[in-house]
């Protein structure tokens, strides 16, 4: 660990949910096929630009999903994985569930963005079940997305309400997938995860040293790059 070589990007303040969504959106390569999970990841769609030409997949059988439907657009036959009415864009396609999951499981999606309870230092993901006694488990498509997409991005707050790090040595919640997460976007920093451990790409309103106090796994600094302005459009 080399905390002195802090050549990572920094900004002055922690990231809000929308700023973080904007950051994720900007990191998605033009022309990508992307699945956005339910909840916070859905915000990313608000910041994708037309020039990016990103195609959104929803696991209930559609590519080319458009924004949420409003008023007259609402059609019970056209919903997303969160069962919210959505719209179709020109060039959209529909397919049955086995084809839709073959798109995920067959490695055809470039990126999926998911929420998480915990991510381990080597990219294990826990996001479907607290394991609490009496809790009714529900998994949906989380395990397929986690193992199938080429890149798995997680969006979450770094700390729980009790102040515990959600980046952990090994997950205590039941796993969704093993070694699948490649990037973690949090309010305090962006982390890259993989077989070699955790690298900090950029920090928001904190230093690498302060971050290391919070996170119980060794953090490495990413190679130098320019400062990023999180408020830029």
């Amino acid at each position: 660990m080399s905390l002195t070589e802090t050549s990572i990007q920094t900004s002055d303040a922690p990231m809000g949910r929308d700023d973080l969504a904007r950051l994720v959106a900007r990191d998605i390569a033009p022309g990508s096929f992307v699945n956005l999970g339910i909840g916070q990841p859905t915000l990313v769609s608000n910041y994708l630009t037309e020039e990016q030409n990103v195609t959104l997949h929803t696991e209930n059988g559609m590519l080319g999903m458009g924004p949420a439907a409003e008023d007259d657009e609402i059609d019970g036959d056209l919903i997303n994985a969160g069962k919210i009415p959505v719209t179709e864009l020109p060039g959209a396609s529909y397919f049955h569930h086995a084809d839709s999951f073959a798109i995920m499981r067959g490695g055809h999606l470039d990126i999926c963005v998911l929420g998480a309870f915990q991510v381990s230092a080597t990219g294990d993901l826990a996001n479907w079940h607290t394991g609490a006694p009496g809790a009714i488990p529900a998994v949906g498509g989380a395990m397929d997305l986690a193992t199938g997409a080429k890149d798995v991005f997680v969006m979450m707050t770094l700390l729980t309400r009790d102040g515990a790090s959600k980046i952990v040595e090994s997950c205590t919640y039941p796993l969704t997938g093993v070694g699948c997460v490649t990037r973690v976007y949090t309010d305090k920093a962006v982390f890259l995860t993989g077989p070699d451990g955790v690298t900090v790409r950029e920090t928001f309103g904190t230093t690498l040293e302060e971050l290391q106090e919070l996170v119980p796994v060794p953090l490495k600094a990413a190679p130098a790059a320019g400062r990023r302005d999180p408020g830029a459009p």
């Binding site: 209930n60 036959d77 056209l78 569930h97 086995a98 995920m104 529900a138 998994v139 949906g140 093993v178």
Partner: protein, 229 residues
């Protein structure tokens, strides 16, 4: 053998106690509410039901569960904000749950229809949903052996059928319909419209009629009929 039947009650009359019944739909989209209501009326019990969810609100599959007709659910996402009938039965220990990752659910149904005896997949490897299952390392990745899900009956909803039983669907209401039609021994379809043979473009048929046994027209069949009009 393809039959066109007059009522939803006639369509489901042959479903026996203890049957495994696949029910199409993802949430309410594509859920064949009228066929489910008829199944409730016909009284079949001790059913194993295959669906992505375990019923929403106070309609369709949720009512079948409320009335105690379902002994086991095979699904991926039972717990929702309005799944109170399933939640109550589950907490009372009155319903069995086989929880399956959604892609495994779809592929296991597809495998049944395609005559596949099982398959290995990375989905679920290393998780509690793979406990007790055979695993292998294939191409450097841990994979789990999954078996097909067969059914006695499938209840599905399509937009339109022709005289040969060919089907087309509407938007994301297609979801599990085509694979369930192939996986069940007897497939019952409710449609908003029946057109004469030759009335569907063969290039656009989604489910070929070979997979379909009974068709019933349901006027005003939810979103499908309203929006397709």
């Amino acid at each position: 053998m393809l039959n066109f039947v007059d009522t939803v009650v006639d369509a489901v009359a042959g479903i026996k106690d203890g049957s495994t019944v696949m029910i199409g739909g993802f949430g309410n989209a594509g859920q064949p509410f009228e066929l489910i209501d008829a199944l409730l009326e016909c009284g079949a019990k001790e059913l194993t039901v295959v669906n992505n969810n375990a019923g929403q609100g106070d309609q369709g599959l949720a009512l079948l569960i409320k009335e105690g007709r379902v002994k086991k659910m095979i699904c991926s996402f039972p717990r929702q904000s309005d799944s109170w009938h399933f939640d109550a039965k589950y907490k009372a220990g009155e319903i069995e749950l086989e929880l399956v990752p959604q892609g495994n659910l779809a592929e296991r149904i597809r495998a049944a229809g395609a005559g596949i005896g099982g398959f290995f997949t990375p989905t679920g490897y290393g998780t509690m949903l793979a406990e007790g299952k055979e695993t292998r390392i294939i191409d450097g990745r841990g994979q789990v052996f999954e078996t097909p899900i067969h059914a006695d009956v499938a209840l599905i909803k399509a937009l339109r059928a022709d005289g040969k039983g060919n089907l087309v669907y509407r938007k994301t209401a297609r979801n599990f319909g085509p694979i369930m039609a192939a996986a069940a021994k007897h497939t019952i379809v409710q449609v908003a419209e029946i057109v004469p043979t030759g009335g569907l473009d063969p290039e656009n048929v989604v489910t070929p009629g070979i997979y379909v046994n009974s068709i019933v027209k349901v006027a005003g069949s939810g979103n499908t009929a309203e929006k397709a009009a």
